[in-house]
Symmetry: C2
DNA sequence: TAATTATATAGAATCGTTTCAATAAACGCA
DNA sequence: TGCGTTTATTGAAACGATTCTATATAATTA
């Protein structure tokens, strides 16, 4: 019968099972939860109770259960923008790892808005989620926001952004190393005149990547030409990322300073840059190599496919979950638990958009 | 203080607020919930209670609350594959609409696996979500699965797939009309020899789109060349979609039968086809126009950008949520509520990948 | 044999709310 | 004045589980 006009006949309670099986609610509870005392209960009793439970289609009322036990096997998941392609694989990693631990996430999306973040945080805390996973794909986390999180007093991890916090864990990729490797890749291919479309200065990851670039330059004596470097605006948002990069690259081209390779802040930026180059008649990779960062899904599909530095997104999601799971367990056992800052290695993924500077322009 | 070694001092209860304010728990409850009886409570009393609640940082225990009221303002959200780019905007629409109604979704991802679907469904029902939203981006929903859903007896909507069910609602795009419009677009541009990479036969949307194509052919006398039609395999999965389409298009090209336009089942398929065409030396759109369906994020970024039929994804998500919200409300007021099948219009988005067959091959 | 201890089960308290039913004062009006 | 409302507030029951404490029998040990 459709739910439309069904009489919501009360679901079976533990007392129904007690009655059906001929034992008390206490015994039923002990058996069904396999509580410590269950070891004193003989098999026949257990069987009868289990049979009764099955017959009645008994499912413990989770509210009652949580009310007593103060646990609900639920974590809060706050994304700053689900439509950012950077999120999806991380989401997958999170979901998958939670699944294995029989936890379920409540999904919220801050839309990169401060007020929305706060409202959602409040909602999640009211629901007494056991932990918080923040997927900080973008800017915006200022110091106060961090304070909000710290006072929440439940295990919290931020994925995708480093943090100076004693109580909040984080999982990030090795931005510095990744950028270093990317530049090394271009260098090995013979590129010396390299343009950079840097990320917004406000972003920690942007600063780290630039640090990696500087380090490589220092290590090898490569000259970083100021005139070939341009920054994305600070109020840059991930979805207009391509658009912004397009404009910045046009800007760059106007300077009439030749380069044989372009390194972009991230894949979206690289895609925008490639578009601008193509539009300007510069062939990629024949006349100019392009390299990105992240390895979002689109990068592999593009023509030419984009050489990039892969963030191990699924692994990052998984690592984040494991961190908070540790936190939850520590808490349940009344142990101490210190926040951890994990940094995962990146991986260079060479594809079609980069090649040796042979004929070059 | 970090949560690591904090004494989890009990949160304030309604009785604490009662004591602090000098009224009974009953009165506090009435005031704080603005229950009907609150109209008899004078302002000064209300103020004192509210002040006390604020002072103690009182948040009602949601488990206790749900235990009594049997409501939890939570819906189950089952996605068949989050990594499918088709999902993201729908997710956004769902999230946004739920937010406005102060509902929160529990996110689950079936990974296109039957067993995982079942396990998650069970978990969601155990948590007594008030409704179910299924984001069926892909195949796999066989008849039994539908039965699973029907017996759940809570408002349920499937987004992205039509259904013959008296108790389950659905929200879909007008596949037939969309495909009709797409073909019309090609036709207007002068294309007559048109190749089709059709979706898996098992998919309802695939069948509908083909129906739209047939209808257009019939209406205009356009000839559909069997030799220019090829099907994606049934066990097609969204992420290998591009790969599959690539192979299928190569297959098609081997037939050595000329065509000036190619219509793909969806955007991913179109992207794969474009790649194969480019690889084979066929220029898009100069020598061959390509059109997709869906308008996933990547389509606008591609070079050339992909002409496609946009599904109003955010609107679909929103519509789905509104359907189940109606169901929830009907249920709360003990009204009847019939499942609805909504079909939203699509929109043609002309971009660079299609043009008139002027010089053509 | 008596005193323990292990086994098997149940009654009652508890978790923190909401809500039913009750009570008492103040008010309106015949 | 008296009686029915309206206003203002509360104690106690209920929601459905878990768990503490108690009890009775059986088995073991001194």
């Amino acid at each position: 019968m459709p739910y439309s006009n069904r009489q919501p006949r009360a679901a079976a309670t533990i007392r129904d099972v007690a009655e059906e099986s001929g034992f008390s609610a206490t015994t039923v509870s002990i058996v069904l939860n396999n509580a410590p005392l269950a070891r004193y209960i003989p098999a026949p009793t257990k069987n009868r109770i289990q049979k009764a439970a099955k017959k009645l289609g008994y499912h413990p009322n989770i509210f009652a259960k949580s009310l007593r036990s103060k646990r609900n096997h639920t974590v809060g998941l706050m994304v700053f923008d689900v439509t950012d392609p950077y999120c999806t694989l991380i989401l997958r990693g999170i979901e998958n790892t939670l699944y294995q631990a029989s936890y379920l996430p409540i999904l919220t999306d801050a839309h990169n808005e401060r007020s929305r973040f706060e409202r959602y945080l409040e909602m999640l805390l009211e629901r007494r989620v056991e932990a918080l996973i923040i997927l900080a794909n973008w800017v915006l986390i200022d110091i106060n926001l961090l304070a909000d999180l710290e006072k929440s007093e439940i295990p919290t991890v931020i994925i995708g952004r480093e943090l100076e916090s004693k109580s909040i864990s984080s999982v990030t990729v090795d931005d510095e190393g990744g950028a270093y490797a990317a530049l090394a890749h271009l260098h090995v291919l013979g590129h010396r005149k390299i343009a950079f479309v840097r990320g917004p200065k406000a972003l920690m990851s942007s600063r780290k990547r630039w640090k990696g670039i500087q380090k490589f330059a220092q290590d090898t004596g490569l000259e970083l030409d100021q005139k070939l470097t341009i920054d994305l605006p600070d109020q840059h948002s991930p979805n207009q990322g391509v658009e912004d990069a397009y404009k910045m690259t046009e800007e760059l081209l106007k300077r009439k300073r030749s380069f044989t390779a372009l390194m972009a802040y991230d894949d979206m930026t690289a895609l925008g840059a490639m578009r601008a180059l193509t539009k300007a008649g510069v062939k990629v990779p024949e006349q100019c190599s392009v390299i990105g960062f992240d390895d979002v899904a689109t990068s592999a599909l593009f023509v030419p496919s984009l050489t990039t530095v892969r963030q191990p997104m699924e692994a990052m999601g998984a690592a984040g979950v494991n961190v908070i799971l540790d936190g939850i367990n520590a808490r349940a056992e009344n142990r101490k638990f210190a926040a951890v800052q994990k940094k995962l290695p990146s991986e260079l993924v060479p594809r079609q958009s980069t090649r040796t500077t042979g004929g070059g322009l």
